[in-house]
């Protein structure tokens, strides 16, 4: 197994850092899948996470100037590692002004992802800072847990309102209740509701627009659906807040698919990064 990658451009480095920072805010530990074309940060929906799962996909070529990968075997040309994104985030933070950053898979006291940054210095010779991030190699037999999630058979798909607005609404609602209902319809309307014994608060968003999914089975299903009918899911408010808190990248497109009473599927798209986040509904 071999992995070496290099970032020479400061813009790419900053972009990569922002993505990693977002992942750091979402989870303490995740799986890093490295393939020839992409880099994925995956969190599989286990009970420990409260059923939340995450899939973040980066197009490698848009970040790295050099990228070499030799996977586990010829027919499984990828590497799967378990890593704490916070370590990666910290390492990248110190490399902010770096002339170049090299990431490679090494073996120190155990398998590590070594990040070596060349920093500008006062002398002719650059400073080098190296961070060894301990990782765990995930054996091939467990890879099925970390496959790309399929888009669920959603009832409603809607574009999200500006994330900042959503975040301030959710932040305030968090003080009142532990659970929040996300509901939306195919008419571009979305509501965020909380209901307690004493008070219920609803924030209404309209004219959001619904993304066209094209030749999709769900589309035909939702076509027969009444445009005004709301699909809703009641979720743990902290999970939604965590998702909104971490957003550092301004997505080109952000949308939400709701499977009535089952799950909400949040999708953030940028030209070279996509982030999907699944929050299961609670009763």
């Amino acid at each position: 197994m071999k992995f070496r990658a290099k970032i020479n451009d400061v813009g790419c480095l900053n972009h990569f850092t922002r993505v990693v920072n977002t992942i750091t805010k979402l989870t303490k530990t995740c799986v890093l899948r490295l393939t020839v074309d992409n880099m994925y940060f995956v969190l599989s929906g286990k009970v420990a996470n409260g059923g939340v799962s995450m899939w973040c996909e980066l197009l490698q070529v848009n970040f790295f100037e050099e990228y070499q990968l030799e996977g586990v075997s010829a027919d499984a040309n990828e590497i799967c590692l378990e890593v704490a994104p916070e370590n990666l985030s910290r390492a990248l933070k110190t490399a902010q002004n770096a002339k170049s950053v090299k990431i490679k898979l090494t073996k120190k006291h155990g398998p590590c992802l070594t990040l070596a940054a060349e920093l500008p210095s006062l002398s002719s010779i650059n400073r080098i800072v190296t961070h060894d991030i301990p990782v765990d190699i995930i054996p091939k037999r467990l890879w099925h847990d970390f496959k790309e999630p399929t888009v669920p058979d959603f009832d409603v798909s809607i574009y999200l309102p500006p994330l900042k607005t959503m975040k301030s609404v959710v932040d305030r609602m968090k003080n009142l209740s532990n659970y929040l209902v996300v509901e939306a319809n195919m008419n571009g309307e979305m509501n965020l509701k909380i209901e307690t014994d004493l008070v219920s608060v609803t924030t209404h968003f309209k004219d959001l627009g619904n993304p066209p999914w094209g030749d999709n089975a769900s589309q035909s299903q939702s076509q027969s659906r009444d445009a005004e009918a709301m699909a809703h899911a009641r979720v743990d408010i902290r999970k939604l807040q965590q998702f909104l808190m971490g957003q550092q990248v301004n997505p080109n497109k952000s949308m939400c698919n709701i499977v009535d009473k089952r799950i909400i599927h949040l999708i953030l798209l940028q030209e070279d990064v996509s982030l999907q986040y699944f929050i299961p509904a609670v009763a």
Binding site: N87, R90, A91, T94, K108, H109, G110, C112, S121, L122, S123, S124, I125, R127, I128, V129, T130, H131, D132, I133, P134
Partner: protein, 425 residues
């Protein structure tokens, strides 16, 4: 003791208190003729810091008010828990305080910090103190084979790469390379934690002298206070150290103040000097002659590259020690002998009478073994404060020393050097 600090100085003093708070729980106030020494030491006695404010730093400075008494001010110890909140917000101090008066009231046993603030507000804090013996570390930086000097920004930039939770780091030098890396005592931590390493070229330093290739491991947390202080005032930092096991000192020198932090370092398990590994016994402390060290350390002042330090010949014949030493300092003239374990043992000296200076300008701590000069008169004992570059002189003789039991290495129990071979060659 009474002194007054003008507006600008208050924040400097405040920053010094912050830096000292990183080290220990108490600060020792020691009003000397040459200035006010504010010191702290950590509970394991593996870290010591001293800020010396010369009389020029103050608007007024009087070391002792009662001329009739001993010719020195009262020495006292105040808990940092009481002092730190007073200087908590340096920004507020800067904005609102015009003047600060510090005085020690012996009859009440109180140290008074009185702030004259804007708008006619006066804030007075009366803190109880414990009278105590002065705390002073004795560290012959001139005997250190390795001396580095760097701009504070450089050191801050380097240290920035290590997380604030990082306890210990290892500094490795050779004439061509400077390297800092994180150090983990526990095998477990080593495997699970992120390991950071930073290397620089010696060109980045203002001065880089490496007499002995060495790796010293010390506590980073305790140093950060001084580094922030140095950066805030733009003062270059000098680093003196030797081989592993010997202390490392970080010092800054300004126009009206000096500061130093001395940290113990972990002893390397494969040191050639077996005696280094032994836990030092508490040295006996006879009242009229102090046994500074059973071995022999002779004095040689080696003038440093910069600074107004004069080389002073000790004029004492050295005697080779009975047991092997770690190294001979290359640049020494009178073949001074540097005995690591004894050095650590003698790092901190608590003594009853004030230790003054016998020369106007200092190099560093120098101490003489009584076995070198047959009549061990007090005059032959020259104790100097750890902080070098003193402004004024004192002609007080040392009459007694008391050596506390000291922790040889950093504050871990494994000072017999079981640090899992992490120290590099």
């Amino acid at each position: 003791m009474r002194c007054t600090i003008a507006g600008n100085g208050v924040k400097v003093f405040g920053r010094a208190v912050h830096a000292l708070s990183r080290i220990g729980e108490d600060i020792w106030l020691d009003p000397l003729q040459k200035g006010l020494a504010v010191r702290s030491v950590n509970s394991a006695q593996s870290a010591y810091a001293c800020f010396l404010f010369s009389p020029l730093f103050f608007q007024h400075y009087t070391a002792n008010l009662d001329q009739g008494r001993e010719s020195k001010g009262v020495k006292c110890k105040v808990s940092l828990k009481s002092v730190l909140p007073i200087f908590r917000s340096v920004a507020t101090l800067e904005r609102s305080v015009c003047k600060c008066e510090i005085s020690i009231n012996v009859s009440d046993s109180r140290v008074k910090f009185q702030f004259n603030c804007r708008h006619g507000i006066t804030k007075t804090h009366n803190l109880g103190y414990q009278e105590c013996e002065a705390l002073q570390a004795v560290f012959p930086t001139h005997l250190c084979p390795n001396i580095l000097k760097a701009q504070p920004k450089l050191l801050s930039d380097i240290v920035m790469h290590f997380p604030t939770s990082q306890e210990e780091i290892t500094l490795s030098v050779s004439p061509l390379r400077f390297k800092l890396k994180s150090y983990y005592e526990e095998e477990n931590d080593l495997i699970k934690s992120m390991n950071t390493e930073m290397s620089l070229h010696p060109d980045e330093f203002d001065y880089f002298q490496v007499g002995v290739d060495s790796d010293v491991t010390f506590c980073l947390k305790e140093l950060r206070g001084l580094l922030s202080f140095a950066e805030a005032h733009g003062l270059p930092v000098s680093i003196h150290f030797g081989a592993s096991g010997k202390p490392v000192s970080f010092s800054v020198e300004g126009m009206v103040l000096e500061a130093v932090v001395v940290l113990a370092t972990l002893a390397s398990p494969d040191s050639e000097n077996p005696s280094q590994e032994s836990i030092p016994q508490e040295a006996p402390a006879p009242r009229n002659r102090s046994e500074v060290c059973p071995g022999n350390i002779s004095i040689a002042d080696i003038s440093m590259d910069e600074g107004p330090l004069e080389a002073e010949a000790a004029g004492v014949a050295p005697k080779l020690p009975a047991f092997p030493t770690e190294e001979q300092v290359a640049s020494s003239q009178g073949s001074p002998v540097f005995i690591p374990d004894l050095h650590m043992r003698n790092l901190l000296q608590l003594h009853g009478d004030e230790v003054g200076l016998s020369r106007p300008s200092l190099c560093d701590v120098i101490f003489e073994s009584e076995s070198l000069t047959s009549p061990a008169t007090p005059a032959t004992f020259k104790f100097r404060s750890l902080v070098f570059g003193a402004v004024s002189s004192d002609q007080v003789n040392v009459s007694a020393l008391e050596l506390p039991s000291l922790v040889c290495a950093s504050d871990t129990e494994d000072d017999t050097g079981e640090d899992s071979g992490m120290v590099e060659e």
